[in-house]
């Protein structure tokens, strides 16, 4: 087994007593205090995540935009807006989901899941023939901090003269003698910012953020937060056996594009969706967990992909990938928990109201 990696902030996490776990090949903080405390900090105040484990893949060259549109499912246009998309296999299932920073026609940055970085990079390299580009895996060169929560703008304004104005905006923003890549985005359902810099810059920023009173938060609450906001996580709602239509993420697929890897398969699949990711709520108090089977009567119709007793709502809610015949909101189903059939109902995935800055 290869040695686990550490981000530049690893010793910071240790110094404040974080509980460390393996995640995506890295040693990362699960929590510093408790998951619920950190969860509520992000929903009500402001907190920060070390997300330096995320992968950065840079596409450069004359054909960079054209190439990005060939390997990604969504229509990438040069703008100051981040875009969400999929790398797909030719059969239409998902290699990874990622954020795209389309700086210019000749420079596109992809931010990918830590555990998939090497796989994504190899996948991308398979399709470079005929394009005037270079593709670089720059994951070791950059660190990233996500500052999230309703007080994130006010707090960061004490350090930055300007910040991205609307949800999804990104750009280079002046900081000290240079610039930092900042986007108004995140993975919690709250207003927030994602800040990229060199490892040294990120180390320096963490201390400054900490001194501003921004609370360090771990991967534990990152998962409860993203789940409440109905955001998918690779290995849960999406993976190499699931296509974007089944995952309910059709908005990130543009079948009108000229061609892209997976388009032919998805064109056929779009009219033949047999499974769907739905929201569900237990009608008795219990805790739905990933992997628990879902039943309609005595027929197994799917599995939970993520579930919690939601820290924000205190409801036993989940996302589940189930037979699309049972996906209609209001359908009565069961979740098998420790061999007991717990009644549940299909509901919308709006578990909380998102508060992104429109």
């Amino acid at each position: 087994m290869s040695e686990l990696k550490k981000t530049i902030l690893y010793e910071k996490h240790q110094s404040v007593g974080a509980t460390i776990v393996e995640f995506g090949g890295f040693l990362m903080p699960l929590y510093y205090t408790t998951i619920p405390i950190e969860h509520h900090t992000i929903r009500n105040e402001v907190g920060m995540f070390d997300v330096s484990h995320m992968g950065e893949i840079l596409i450069k060259g004359k054909d960079a935009l054209k190439f990005a549109n060939y390997i990604l499912s969504s229509n990438i246009v040069v703008s100051n807006k981040m875009q969400y998309g999929f790398l797909l296999y030719e059969n239409g299932t998902i290699v990874d989901d990622l954020m795209v920073y389309p700086f210019s026609e000749d420079k596109i940055l992809l931010v990918v899941n830590a555990s998939n970085t090497d796989k994504d990079f190899e996948h991308i390299l398979k399709y470079t023939n005929g394009f005037d580009i270079t593709v670089e895996n720059r994951s070791n060169d950059f660190g990233e901090i996500a500052v999230q929560g309703p007080k994130s703008f006010d707090t960061l304004s004490k350090l930055f003269k300007s910040l991205p104005e609307h949800s999804g905006d990104f750009g280079s923003f002046p900081y000290e003698d240079g610039y930092l890549l900042i986007s108004r985005s995140g993975y919690t359902g709250e207003d927030g910012f994602e800040i990229y810099g060199s490892n040294e810059e990120i180390l320096n920023l963490w201390d400054k953020f900490y001194n501003l009173g921004i609370t360090p938060c771990g991967l534990g609450c990152r998962d409860t937060l993203r789940f409440e906001a109905a955001m998918p996580l690779y290995g849960h709602e999406i993976d190499n056996t699931i296509n974007p239509f089944e995952a309910g993420l059709t908005f990130a697929v543009d079948l009108t594009k000229e061609d892209f890897v997976g388009k032919a398969a998805l064109t056929v699949l779009k009219d033949n969706i047999k499974r769907k990711v739905v929201g569900l709520e237990l009608l008795e108090r219990n805790v739905p967990r990933q992997g628990y089977p879902v039943f309609a009567g005595e027929t197994e119709i799917g599995r939970i992909t993520t579930g919690y007793l939601s820290p924000s709502t205190n409801l036993p809610i989940a996302m589940a990938l189930i037979d699309s015949n049972y996906a209609k909101i209001g359908t009565n189903i069961y979740v098998s928990i420790r061999n007991k059939m717990i009644p549940a109902v299909v509901r919308n995935k709006k578990f909380i109201e998102k508060k992104n800055k429109v």
């Binding site: 998951i35 805790v287 007793l309 928990i337 420790r338």
Partner: protein, 122 residues
Amino acid sequence: MNKHDVKYLSSHEWLYVEGNKAKVGISSYAAMHLGDIVFFDLPKVGQTFKKEAVFGAVESVKSASDLYLPASGTVVAVNEALVTKPELVNEDPFNNWIVEIELSDLSELNSLLDVTQYEATL
């Protein structure tokens, strides 16, 4: 009640004997390692379990753990306070029992661990 007053299973449940009945809970070590407890999946009064059978589950935010009964018996009471306030067990694991059982074989108590033996397993 404290850690010296009870007997243990190595799977972190404790048992406090009162005549032919016993209260059952989890150790402070277990409560600390589970983190914030959010739910107990409890048995019904009248259910009978063998020694070391799974009688319920304790759920923290992140994970579910089975609960094992330290001795054979019939459930005569469940701690209803834990339905609305499961976190009581985090706060004081020895004074917040989970179930009370009527013991069916008192000789089983001899095989349980005392606090020294239990702490040696940690």
